[in-house]
Subunit: 219 residues, 2 copies
Amino acid sequence: MTTTLSPTPRSTVRRGAHRARTDRAELYAVLDAGLVCHLGIVLGGAPVVLPTGYGRLGDTLYLHGSTGAASLRAAARDAPVCVTVTLLDGVVHARSVFHFSMNYRSAVVHGVPRHVTDPDERLAGLRAITENIAPGAWDHARPPNRKELAATSVLALDLTEASVKVRTGPPVDDEEDLARPDGPWAGVLPVEQAFGAPVPCPLLPPDVPVPPHVGPGPG
Amino acid sequence: MTTTLSPTPRSTVRRGAHRARTDRAELYAVLDAGLVCHLGIVLGGAPVVLPTGYGRLGDTLYLHGSTGAASLRAAARDAPVCVTVTLLDGVVHARSVFHFSMNYRSAVVHGVPRHVTDPDERLAGLRAITENIAPGAWDHARPPNRKELAATSVLALDLTEASVKVRTGPPVDDEEDLARPDGPWAGVLPVEQAFGAPVPCPLLPPDVPVPPHVGPGPG
């Protein structure tokens, strides 16, 4: 029951090490706040990076895909993957272009995923993936049937080998630039992600209200 | 001067092929709208995916990093990389959990980057990277000096081998689910990214106005 991230050589943050966070709760916070991850695999010796959904249950990250997807098949073959979740918080305008930066929170997870075969864990993993982008949706929509489950691969990635980096705050400028009386503007332009008003499916009867778990809507 | 994306086996969209776009202008649009890319490399046989800034000039994508960064050194060694830019546009609520999806625009670029050594191209690439996150900033802030340039690697990635995928619109549900009179709500919850009000650096004199290229601010 560790609560700190135990770095391996691969998960040790080398660039900007002062931005590394070692509390496991910070890893969870980044993963739970994200909606999309970038899954990296190696295909034919070359990297392939694809966006996909994910969900977390405790110290396990779940991914899913069609049983026909080449990327998922490759990832399920005892091959290493890298899953990265990035939340962009701001553009950092510095006094010199060299010190321009971004405020962000990112989590990088390394590991060899496990192909999930247990029916209960498969359902729990799929539920976590759905709930990560749409909390409350699993109990609202129709559950998967046997045919749909057969068409779906579920992968589990242990969160043991992971790192978190966070940058916050104003630019870090050189002393000489700070001292210039006629220096340029410097600061942070925040980047914010928000949900808009729900757009009902055109095939939905006009009087179906937007349920509370989707958010405030016209219905 | 091609204006269409010529797919190689690697850049041919296999899953959801109807979502593939083949117009080169759509590739440019996704790349120019994004702020962060996910750079995939292979290190010791395993994939590593890291978020980073980038910029586009014509059919070239520029990346930069510290000359000391292991990931950039690896990427500069005639090794293949994958650069993916993803813009999330909405969470698609379907009538069945199986058909939950996301609306998005994504670009995936494969290639072996070129280490840029020409001083003019290095400056142009760095300018493109800065301007991609902060249009107008390059001419406002102090340009890089010799020491800063020596500490910076610039990589150029040709956009020849690239693919674009776009999903828009409502959920695609099964006929049986559409026919249910008491079916669940379905539609799209839009995801929007926006800039907030600029936050001046605490070390800035209080009377420095926010310049127009940063955006509307308190100054």
